[in-house]
């Protein structure tokens, strides 16, 4: 088989062998329903409890504050709708940012139709939320602030500690979509004033179809799913034991030596950014140079379009992604790239590479060897380039 160069770890990651192994018994012989009284069921219950403790330990919170869901999207929906509907008598105003994932943005847009008011904060050119703008946006009706921990496209890490302090001071709930951050950067909930946090298993070598929502003790929140009494009556559905076990195992593995792994991934990122900027003219680095996820590279190559780059990379076994319209399924390029002030034409030429601990320097060397030729080939075809 042709070698695969997997540089799309922000999209999803490869399941860790140890995670898969931990899950298999619960897909085979240990199939008991965790709500059942006999020992087969109790084994499932114990497995879930143990996974919950692993998640809590990784984040620095109490197991009672972790609720399993089916995905990051579900956690975001639950956090935002749940807090909005439970605190309606206090106010109807929500603050979020323009660079959130669609799971947050579209949920907020839905709430606008339900009579809530939403402020979508602008971000600075580097993708960081402007704290001054946040302070200005707060009203007495504000019940929730939802700002992502780290951006999925440009990798920018947001000032979560500062935002948490502001929210706490004003008595406003603070939710953060930490789907891209968990397992990549250290998070200690003891040191951050976060009330709700979203995470997703498949972003850190766990299985797909499993997420969790951290809900700080005492937060007023409505249920999203109504039904049985699972997850202490807050999230109905027969537990997906295998996936929950996999999530527990994955987060434990991902957060062990997290700093050291992050340092390694960062060297790959730096090598890649420096190599691209040196070898390819008319290239822009998107996001903040320092405050970014260890494995995130996002660049725009002027005069060309992103899908073309991806197709050519794919031919060589390289997996990456882009914020161009053709890859987003609409006519507009990524809302994140537009929010940081790029014009449409430039935004169409974006390339995101996201590395993990499993990538190597040799793989980056290969990318840097083939990418300049791909960009030149496409530029020679472009009417925009030839105009210059």
């Amino acid at each position: 088989m042709k070698k695969l160069y997997y540089f799309d770890n922000s999209a999803t990651t490869k399941i860790d062998e140890r995670v898969l192994k931990s899950m298999l018994p619960y897909l085979k012989e240990n199939y008991g329903n965790a709500s059942s009284i006999y020992s087969l069921g109790r084994e499932s219950r114990e497995a879930i409890d143990s996974a919950r403790e692993k998640v809590a330990k990784a984040l620095g919170c109490d197991g009672k504050e972790i609720f399993f869901t089916n995905s990051g999207t579900e956690s975001d929906n639950w956090a935002i709708k749940g807090v909005a509907f439970a605190n309606r008598e206090k106010g109807n105003h929500i603050i979020t940012s323009r660079i959130e994932h669609h799971a947050v943005l579209h949920t907020c847009e839905y709430l606008e139709k339900q009579g809530f008011e939403v402020t979508y904060l602008p971000v600075k050119k580097n993708g960081v939320v402007d704290i001054k703008e946040l302070k200005k946006a707060i009203r007495k009706e504000t019940i929730l602030i939802s700002i992502m921990y780290a951006n999925n496209e440009i990798g920018t890490i947001e000032p979560i500690k500062e935002i948490g302090e502001i929210a706490k001071e004003k008595g406003i709930y603070f939710h953060t979509d930490a789907v891209q951050a968990v397992g990549n950067v250290e998070i200690n909930l003891n040191e951050l004033n976060i009330d709700l946090l979203t995470l997703s298993g498949h972003k850190f070598n766990g299985p797909k179809g499993i997420g969790a929502l951290y809900i700080k003790n005492g937060v007023r929140i409505e249920n999203l799913l109504h039904g049985g009494g699972q997850e202490r009556g807050k999230r109905a559905s027969t537990e997906n034991v295998a996936n929950i076990v996999g999530l527990g195992e994955a987060i434990e593995l991902a957060t062990e030596n997290i700093e050291k792994k992050g340092e390694y991934v960062k060297t790959l990122r730096e090598k890649c950014i420096e190599g691209i900027l040196e070898k390819i003219p008319d290239t822009i680095l998107n996001g903040d140079r320092e405050k970014r996820l260890p494995g995130n590279v996002n660049v725009c190559f002027k005069y060309i379009e992103g899908e073309s780059i991806l197709l050519m990379l794919d031919r060589l076994g390289i997996c990456a992604s882009s914020g161009s319209a053709c890859t987003s399924g609409s006519l507009d390029p990524s809302h994140v790239l537009l929010a940081i002030g790029l014009d449409h034409e430039t935004a169409h030429g974006s390339l995101r590479l996201s590395f993990s601990k499993d990538n190597t320097e040799e793989e980056i060397d290969y990318l840097l060897e083939v990418l300049p030729d791909i960009i030149s080939k496409l530029r020679r075809m472009s009417p925009l380039y030839n105009k210059e």
Partner: protein, 127 residues
């Protein structure tokens, strides 16, 4: 994502007739950078026949492939024959396009039309 046909990929990876045509007597340009597609067609017409044709395209795989395919179809055709080519013909010649990419074949056909109109306009001015 929906897969491109082998023919689309062939025309994308090895596009025919790419570049500028120095002695073109008709130039068409359609699309805009906002939507992420621009096609520029250069034609050289002699005795009512498209003798030579070249293109430059800013766009996705389908945009490049349809540009390339349309130049192949049109080369050597009379102006009237060229105007009869539809976007469906271009898509079919490529063994189909994913539904969301059909607008790329519209663009290729529109670029040809634009180039022919430009040629006709220039010709009228010459008289």
């Amino acid at each position: 994502m929906e897969k491109y046909s082998d023919k689309v990929m062939d025309h994308f990876m090895n596009p025919r007739n790419v570049g500028e045509l120095k002695d073109a007597n008709g130039i068409g340009e359609v699309g805009n950078p906002r939507c992420g597609d621009i096609m520029k067609m250069y034609i050289k017409v002699k005795d009512n026949v498209i003798e030579d044709i070249k293109f430059l395209t800013f766009g996705c795989g389908a945009a490049v492939a349809t540009s390339s395919m349309v130049t192949e179809i049109i080369k050597g055709k009379t102006l009237d024959e060229a105007l009869e080519i539809t976007n469906k013909d271009v898509a079919e010649a490529l063994d189909g396009l994913p539904p969301i990419k059909m607008h790329c074949s519209n663009l290729a056909q529109a670029a040809i039309k634009d180039a022919i109109e430009d040629y006709k306009e220039k010709k009228t001015k010459d008289f």
